[in-house]
Symmetry: C2
Subunit: 267 residues, 2 copies
């Protein structure tokens, strides 16, 4: 894929302080970054916004809102939407949350998530922010995200206007699903494909299964096929590379960024 | 659930040598066991068959055939079918195998699995053995089983007569899937629900994600709802408890067996 589509998700090189990340992006000609709320808040939201704006970077997404099955979700998500406005991004990624403590009722958790998104959608829409529901791999259904497939995410999104609620397609979470190709087409046809993220699937998975996302080209995912699928669905936006990986975090951030860019261009 | 439905999968208490497992089942009134090929071969297939037969135990399944994407699958699976005949069970559980080495073509792996099952089905049918395709959790799609949902398993099974090829419903693998309830009904309606296995989903998952299946009642799965679902689909056969769990294997096997039985009766 081409450099002008590339966006590096901040989590991929979380060892880099924001000013260094921005400087390296400028040096390498990287046009976009996906930011995370916590490091942005640490730096200061206004200051972060000025930093990326002055560097000419596009903030492709803010990660993340969601966790609708825990207390305080509404206030936290309204704040996240406001932060999107400040940062100049139009897309808030939603990781919806798992089962509430003590519950085994997955359908109820999913209903609660849909209700919460309904509460937030107008607020987001009035501010020009799109809520992008990210289905996470089913191995996170209990404790992180009860929305496990792209079809589930679309079933929720389609209750609302496309400029308010859409979906994220992340290869790490969806690569295994034989229904995902049709769902990607569905997302494209309804104007709800709001973000495309890449990571590869490598095994064995680490304990806790959170921080073992594979560098592009090192795992089981047919990334060119996914890129073609998303393109065929009409998606022409930025492509984020988002790797949660302890090994990468332990290395020199600039080196990891350069390597990630190279792997992206090779897809 | 009632004792007369209970079957203990050998892997749950793999620390118990087969004669001890059989003796404890007799002592506790447990009517069924699901056996694994490797420990049965170590003991001797004929000898194992005599042991369980003399104890009046039903061998509910033999685990496992499959791994169709690796060399030697045909000979291994014909041998597994023959072992089913010797052991007096009518069901061979299939774990289908993941991507072949170096491949990223998941649809091709799935096609190869379906072809292999087609090769074996008549051989199994002539011997009164049912091949039971077990969809495994999507976190195993790359390296263990490319059949990730019950619908996928049924799509393959339905190409063949129901007395030759069916499916396994295992709560650990399917609990997250919102389409699973309809698929369970489909399996029942077409006479293909050949085995029902229970395990709970607990987090965090251990490294490698293989040996962290939860004891019944300790995790996220609504087991009574699953039991009701399978019953509504017309399944009246044995219910196996199959736990792969390092912590349980480190404990006294008889104690684990008693505890597992109690937890089963409480579902």
């Amino acid at each position: 894929m081409n450099l002008d589509r590339f966006s590096v998700n901040q989590m991929t090189v979380k060892q880099l302080p924001l000013p260094e990340l921005v400087a390296h992006c400028v040096r390498l000609g990287i046009p976009g970054v996906g930011l995370w709320r916590e490091p942005v808040q640490e730096y200061g939201v206004e200051a972060a916004a000025a930093l990326v704006r002055d560097a000419g970077l596009t903030v492709t997404t803010l990660c993340r809102g969601g966790f609708f099955t825990t207390d305080g979700w509404e206030e936290a998500n309204r704040a996240a939407i406001d932060e999107c406005v400040t940062l100049g991004t139009d897309t808030l990624v939603l990781v919806s949350g798992g089962l509430p403590p003590g519950s085994r009722d997955l359908p109820a958790a999913r209903a609660r998530i849909a209700d919460a998104i309904g509460t937030l959608a107008p607020y987001a829409g009035e501010r020009g922010i799109r809520l992008a529901i990210e289905p996470l791999h089913p191995m996170y259904a209990a404790d992180r995200c009860a929305v496990s497939t792209l079809d589930q995410a679309l079933d929720i999104a389609e209750r609302f206007p496309a400029e308010q609620v859409g979906v994220v397609v992340d290869t790490y979470h969806l690569w295994w699903d034989d229904r995902a190709p049709a769902a990607v087409a569905r997302a494209g046809a309804t104007g709800r494909l709001h973000s495309f993220q890449l990571a590869d699937w490598t095994t064995p998975l680490p304990a806790g299964v959170l921080n073992g996302r594979g560098r592009l080209g090192t795992g089981a995912v047919d990334l060119p096929a996914w890129a073609a699928l998303v393109e065929k669905a009409g998606y022409v936006g930025p492509v984020e590379v988002e790797l949660f990986n302890e090994d990468l975090w332990a290395r020199d951030g600039a080196e990891v960024l350069e390597e990630t860019l190279e792997a992206f261009l090779a897809v």
